[in-house]
Subunit: 347 residues, 2 copies
Amino acid sequence: MKKTASTTKSMQRAPTVTDIAAGAGVSRATVSLVLRESPLVHPDTRARVQAELAKQRYVYNRGAANLRRRTSSAVALVINDLSNPFFAEFAAGVDEALGDKGYVTLLGNTSESPLRQDAVLASLMEHTPAGLILSPAEGSDGKRVAQVLGTNLAVLVFNREIKGGEWDYLALDNQRGAELATEHLIAHGHNKIAFFGGHASSSSCRQRRAGFEAAMKRAKLPLRKEWMIETAPNRLDAAANAATLFAQKAQPTAAVCYNDAVALGLMLGLAARGVHPGRDFALTGFDDIPEAALASPPLTTVAVQPRERGRQAAELLLQRLGMQASKPRQIVAAVQLKVRASSPSPT
Amino acid sequence: MKKTASTTKSMQRAPTVTDIAAGAGVSRATVSLVLRESPLVHPDTRARVQAELAKQRYVYNRGAANLRRRTSSAVALVINDLSNPFFAEFAAGVDEALGDKGYVTLLGNTSESPLRQDAVLASLMEHTPAGLILSPAEGSDGKRVAQVLGTNLAVLVFNREIKGGEWDYLALDNQRGAELATEHLIAHGHNKIAFFGGHASSSSCRQRRAGFEAAMKRAKLPLRKEWMIETAPNRLDAAANAATLFAQKAQPTAAVCYNDAVALGLMLGLAARGVHPGRDFALTGFDDIPEAALASPPLTTVAVQPRERGRQAAELLLQRLGMQASKPRQIVAAVQLKVRASSPSPT
DNA sequence: CTGAAAGCGCTTACAG
DNA sequence: CTGAAAGCGCTTACAG
């Protein structure tokens, strides 16, 4: 209990089971049984109670019920960057799946700040969630997080591993996605392929590079240092670095891009140099953001389906709620290549 | 209480005020006073209790406290389309501001379905929120919504008016935004200006058209039916309809677009016809999505700052919590023109 | 300054 | 099938 929560009194007492019981001429226990659709109640009694419920516009107080039953119908969802459409979609998927199962979502956005994450988690814990889905802020400290969460909470970590915690983990298959993209370009006859964009220090970039390199090695194609190009993972920096691809005498004919933003930026950069993407140069993205299909030419990319991942995360967490304590699970979500016009055969 | 909420028992009892009281050798009341930082407790006692709190890793149960105090520290946030970055930003702003005030956000996403909205609202009501921020699904029925919310809840409606309810309402200044854009084009010497995109049946499109028409009339410029062009409010349909602008003998030299998506689509459509946007033709957008600044040329547009709007919505709602019942308020959020390269003088 | 008792709105054995 | 009683974890008068 760090900061004092401001609160507010309701202006007018809402009806309770006691009011309904009085109105229907039964005991509170009977009302409770009707509310939870117990078959023990006589149909006539049930009808009478239900009429009274409707008449008084009764609203169930799940908090009170949870307190008495020592249960929870809330799940905390803590997101590192809700303004990123990828995570917003993920959140929508989580909320959808939780709602279907009768849970409510307690939202927390951390804006990539581990400090804020600590505060958000502590605050949410006071609302006794049944579990937590956490897409960690960059630089999260597993020990600290474990400390505020305690040991009794079901937790699912998404997207970024946290070292120092023992939690279920849902990851994207970054390596496989990059392999699929690389194999696709190879199958179309490319053999001079670059890996373009991203910071090699990030785990997702490392995994995607690993997939690229694995596919290239399997095909016995050359891996050249000059063709492994780092940029910030956004459109702007990608556009600015397009020229790097052609700085050497040996020039690639295709590039596997770190993600769609980078790929779209590269397309702009190529166009500015008079190179037509999808005609003079082939490239692939990663993510399948809505824009990818609308670019010209439409971008071949790896779809990760964030909303589906959200649903999956919710399901994994709810499974965990029913389980005895056991080893943390590692689930790697399948990804899928979407072939579009940006990746033709070499000219 | 429609569907049965699945629930889960915690595996191991968490310490309560009783445990702390026993450990520290005081009464539960004293522990409670320490928790709420009452000055009535002797410093020595307080220290003893706080040590015990830390030792037992006590976590405050806000739900129990809220039950006893008949208060709530939760606010429901119901969003029509979380996968739209505009609303995701808005949600992030709401969550941020609520968190700062000690409230937790109960999230619900309706995917633009009034049916789902009813279900989501009913479910959230069972968690006794102190208030609700609602960005309504298209086609929401005010009567129905009012029915599930009851009369005792503080409500703030965002972005789309709901007829049939008496709630505070935060709107964007669509009309003023379109006026600003239109005046900007006029100031740059354009006098043949089209309004491009959106469905005239939507309230936001109507308001933006009204602003456009007002500015044109003030400048005594011609309003032509053929220059009021409807499209779906997305990039694809906008691109497909670019030719419509030049179908008549009288051709506009500029367009105020319904929103950024439409403007970016129009830019593609123009380019495909060999018309260079920002050189041969001037246009403006609405929203200032991140892409607007990155387009080539960068798009002049009207910034609505969704995250700020989220913070504002949270503040307005919290104000309402402290107020006696009174007339609903209508707040119109200011918007702001961002001039970029897409809107030069006519050639 | 501290403690004993009652109660928030529910549910759960236990009788009958 | 229904009711009286106890209790979930907290807070709030009320004594002392």
